[in-house]
Symmetry: C2
């Protein structure tokens, strides 16, 4: 497959593919001669993943590059490889330590983790971008005047834990670690929006049931 065909089958313009090659998001094809390179199915697949990351996930090009590097890096163990790839994806806001609400928010998050018995999450703590971003979000909600404490979050956290168990069960059906990491990345980027859509649809459904469609 040459550049033109890769472009046609992926629906991505040749100019954009050349841009991705330049930025290192896509491995170069097998060079046949000075003016021709050959691409395979794996290039097509990776190209589609790149598009998903950038267009749907709004992942900045630089982060997408890093995340994909971790997907391909087989020198690490599965957990680290997963973490490294997922931590490259855009997180929420960073906490503003100058804001007094941040300290309160951190306390609520700590209480939540203690109540749930999420020991590993407590150990990793502020090292994890996810943890920091949760603190920042809770602080923001509090500043806006919406209550957001451990009691309120706990039932949601239980639901999300159930979802996470489903996620990992699904991941275990894949053979190679590379496939698992790729599933995790595309899940974070594509399956999270699916979850969000299901959530909003469920809200519409429940709202219609309670208050009617009027």
């Amino acid at each position: 497959m040459r550049l033109g065909e890769l472009s046609e089958r992926s629906g991505v313009s040749t100019a954009t593919i050349k841009y991705y090659l330049r930025e290192g998001l896509l491995a170069p094809g097998r060079q046949i001669n000075a003016t021709t390179a050959e691409y395979g199915e794996e290039h097509l697949r990776r190209l589609r993943l790149v598009r998903a990351l950038i267009q749907v996930g709004r992942v900045p090009v630089a982060n997408a590059k890093q995340a994909l590097k971790h997907v391909d890096d087989d020198s690490l163990g599965l957990t680290m490889r997963l973490g490294a790839a997922l931590w490259e994806l855009p997180q929420g806001p960073e906490p503003d330590e100058a804001d007094p609400a941040t300290a309160g928010a951190r306390a609520q998050v700590d209480r939540l983790l203690a109540e749930l018995g999420w020991e590993s999450a407590r150990e990793i703590g502020a090292l994890s971008p996810v943890h920091r971003s949760l603190v920042a979000l809770v602080a923001l909600l509090i500043r806006l005047g919406y209550p957001c404490d451990a009691e309120l979050m706990a039932p949601y956290a239980q639901l999300m834990h159930a979802a996470a168990r489903l996620d990992l069960d699904r991941m275990e059906t894949y053979e190679s670690d590379a496939e698992k990491v790729e599933l995790a990345v595309s899940s974070a980027v594509l399956f999270e929006p699916v979850l969000r859509a299901l959530h909003r649809m469920a809200q519409e459904e429940e709202s219609a049931r309670r208050y009617g469609i009027v």
Copy 2:
């Protein structure tokens, strides 16, 4: 409160506040004389919501303006007002009808709604941006080679339905419709990221439990 104080208490520069005033995201203050206007607590609160929409929710300024207009519009019933405001928020991708995977994806979504008995969601159908975006996302996952059918989504949808019930219970604790709509908007923008953070944290926790932290 004058412009300078509003800026100081919100942490938003005066230039940016003036920009929001110009774009109609923020109601003008009460004009005292040619060079002075007076702002109240409600301006501060609205300003923080605007920041949350734009910075955390990445809502484009034009959509934020529309959504806020619906929050303030008391000529509609609650359900329509909710829908109108939420549908202004950024959704996922739109379905690509030229793609053969789209038809299959639509069939899976229809089956899912039928299995769950979400009758209102089926009635609203493709009118809802959420429905369309779910179809587009499922099609994308299928095109990438990840299975995504009604069986796979159903347990997730049940979890999201449970979350939606919690959401609406929470909403009912508010008195006025305007507050309810504002809660729904800020929930969509700020609480969805909280859910996502809880989800990712649960994944990390579950992954550490299954495979260790190594």
